[in-house]
Symmetry: C2
Subunit: 235 residues, 2 copies
DNA sequence: GGCCATAAATGACAATAGTCAAGCGATTGC
DNA sequence: GCAATCGCTTGACTATTGTCATTTATGGCC
């Protein structure tokens, strides 16, 4: 296993990149590398968490099976992102399940190793807190989107997340299956299709797993439009 | 200001109750007490966070105004609950706004005071992480509910959260305005009304701000029913 | 090149939830 | 006691989205 390029990705991951270099070495030395095939399960809802996960390559989805059998995709992580921070420390149980949606490589850092490090340096604690906060923030955004936007608007916002440019046109590669995108956005694949159709007049073209956007600004404006003159006027 | 009963509530708050007693004293000595009238704002989305909030009395809603003017109630906190942990440490900006929905009393602990304490004792860090995790977990639940359940089911689940009993019948006091409940559940007040109507045949009676439930088990089963034979079958 | 398997789009229909307007009921104030 | 008001409920209508069946690519594969 040629670990060098992977180590590089791990070092630059959102979680570790602001850690002191010497710490990262210790951390990586004490953590384990894993490869998962498409469809393989990392852990199931209810299992006790003992480590933090950093995605090196591929896509991992966090989902939840409701009592009635429906699946909810909570989030999807890719290269450089991490999850499970907050859960691991108290050896709590995972509130979600995790599955590889493509062949993936993942580093798992045992929580006690990180606890040791937190003991040594407050900054490590603060960094972890910050990373947890990012997840919290993204969940809040999702809630907001789901509650206050139409399907097509959510799709538009989702596409914009993958644009590097601020304005003008752009070509983004859709990261995973349409079914999964639909799940992540809280709709059925059919509705996703129709949402794409609605975005076509706005200069969005979908082909295969690529989307081309003619005018990013225009799409962003659409995102901020009223679903119908104010959604929830509490006051 | 008679602080004694309030101190007691603070000590027993979800965040502080597992802290060593001596720490809590220091913490409380260095934090500030605040009273808010109904409708008063604690902080606005985008402000820099400098402290953690513990609700002593009343109800505080966390909400977000979308670009299009729609309001999303992200969560509602009451006696003994805390919020803002993860955001305060890096002096990041609040991702949501906070407003008192009833006259409320709130303790604010400056983040640097807590940072000092984290420096001294790892357990404090871990407790904070755990409390943040609880919020994360509750957001995940909300996402799941919103994505996988009908309006009436969400209302049912919401009511069940306030039942202490496991089965049999129960009488719960609705915590806040119907408008706010509707917001928290991602629907309009009108839809909330209709949802209540749908629950009536299941033995749920609403009068004023009280709800009586004839059969908790039956309601729970309803909660777990299929909105229509499996919602999101990814795979 | 033609054929099969799978993924995606579409059309018809039903269910759910938002919109707007009207109606009720209780509380408050004069 | 009566009117004004506020909070909530209802009803008629519309829009959005899920459901199911069908059609249309698309990509291997022999």
């Amino acid at each position: 296993m040629s670990e060098e390029p992977n180590r590089e990705i791990a070092r630059n991951s959102l979680l570790l990149k602001s850690f002191p270099k010497s710490y990262v070495d210790t951390l990586l030395a004490r953590s384990t590398w894993h490869s998962y095939d498409r469809g393989e399960t990392l852990f199931l809802h209810g299992e006790t968490a003992r480590s933090i996960h950093i995605v090196i390559d591929g896509w991992i989805k966090l989902y939840r099976i409701a009592a009635n059998g429906g699946e909810t995709v909570v989030s999807v992580f890719t290269k450089g992102e991490s999850f499970g921070e907050a859960v691991a420390f108290k050896n709590r149980k995972y509130p979600v399940s995790a599955e590889a949606v493509t062949a993936s490589q993942v580093i798992q850092i045992p929580s006690n190793v990180l606890l040791d490090m937190m003991r040594k340096d407050l900054d490590v604690s603060v960094e972890i807190l910050a990373s947890t906060f990012t997840h919290l923030h993204s969940l809040v955004s999702q809630l907001e989107q789901l509650k206050a936007q139409t399907g097509a608007q959510r799709v538009a916002e989702f596409l914009l997340e993958f644009c590097d440019e601020e304005a003008g046109s752009s070509m983004v590669t859709l990261p995973y299956d349409k079914v999964l995108i639909a799940g992540r956005l809280g709709m059925k694949p059919e509705s996703l299709s129709r949402a794409f159709a609605k975005l076509k007049p706005l200069g969005v073209r979908i082909s295969r797993n690529h989307a081309s956007i003619d005018d990013i600004e225009r799409l962003r404006e659409y995102t901020e439009e009223d679903p119908a003159t104010s959604w929830n006027k509490v006051l």
